[in-house]
Subunit: 222 residues, 2 copies
């Protein structure tokens, strides 16, 4: 249907729009996300615009059309289902799944996606806690807040997911045994630098900077 590169552009545009909370995305942002030049992005944008996958106004960025969103969401669905497979079935750690899923998401077969979804038991979230769109493209939402906002002592926090997905960040958390599904107690909040101290079930104390705590999503009993 579409080339792998076209798909990746659509996904990048979707991601940026999501992150900035606005549908209009500029050329530079796409170039940065794709690791390519602005000139290349302009070329590709024109092609995707001709194929009605996005609206493009010269010098004023692009926004995905209904069709473009559909492609991006389907890609996201496949990516996250494969991550669940790699993590739950094959035993990959959560910092290893992304790069491989990046390749697997481009395999074209609706039957495969359906059967994989079924095999995995129709999971609603991936190993990073991100929601998996269903076949119609709709997510399950849930209440979550950055750990950095939990500032009340003795709060119990349940790890739901993370804001960033780069391997080094995930490895850091993994070493601290912080991963989705784990529970901690907030035992200290330092006003001065907004850092936070957690207590694990095993009795370990973990100190997190505001920056780290802000990238962790939790459910809290407060």
């Amino acid at each position: 249907m579409f080339t792998e590169t076209e798909e990746n552009y659509l996904k990048a545009i979707y991601k940026i729009a999501q992150k900035q909370g606005e549908s209009s995305v500029n050329t530079k942002a796409i170039a940065d996300e794709m690791g390519t030049s602005s000139a290349s992005v302009t070329d590709m944008i024109k092609r995707l615009s001709e194929k009605k996958l996005l609206q493009y106004e010269k010098y004023y960025g692009v926004s995905l059309s209904k069709d473009g969103q559909k492609v991006a969401l389907n890609l996201l669905r496949k990516h996250r289902l494969w991550e669940v497979f790699l993590h739950d079935s094959l035993g990959f750690s959560w910092d290893e799944v992304h790069d491989v899923a990046e390749q697997l998401e481009h395999v074209q077969s609706d039957l495969l996606v359906d059967k994989l979804d079924q095999f995995l038991g129709f999971p609603k979230f991936d190993p990073h806690g991100d929601p998996i769109p269903n076949a119609n493209g709709s997510f399950t939402f849930r209440n979550q807040m950055p750990l950095s906002q939990v500032r009340i002592k003795n709060s119990k926090v349940y790890i739901l997911g993370v804001r960033q997905h780069d391997s080094s960040f995930l490895k850091y958390l993994n070493d601290l045994k912080i991963r989705p599904g784990q529970t901690f107690e907030v035992i200290q909040f330092i006003e001065y630098d907004k850092s936070i101290k957690l207590l694990s079930k095993e009795g370990d104390q973990i100190m997190l900077s505001e920056k780290i705590a802000d990238a962790i999503f939790v459910k809290s009993n407060n």
Copy 2:
């Protein structure tokens, strides 16, 4: 490492060499296998030759180098492991697995292949009965003969695999409940046209032409 197309050429050359029982493969055969023109094949051959993946003598065809064979065998290994996954884990029928595996085999991750192999229990044969090379590239061999050569009445035959993999042929066999692992009894052999009549465990009689019988590999008690 190599492009998907380069990998596919190497696989095609390996397959042809295997089938004809001779390592030297000519341009036309590759063009037919790849569904492309001879001119394109010549172009690609030159590139692969420069990369030391095959020996090429103008007008006299090519043969894979050690490195080229390694790539082809690894591809075959990945293809067949994915076929086992699609069939055994996801419930694909054996005529549905090939096209999807054709895409999956190009995913680059040694860790993935190892983990998949382990997850599947280190299978030695794929759903068509073809041997799966191990990580070193060596197969498990087994005694097998074309069903067409079993000409003695009351022979028990155990289906091991097939010579061809096109979807329509596999569907035909599937409808007759002929698939690897099944057992039949030879109840008639017609000298005139070399056709053969089988009896299934369920009591069904199945008539097969010589052409069909020749494409089915069996273990026989004779």
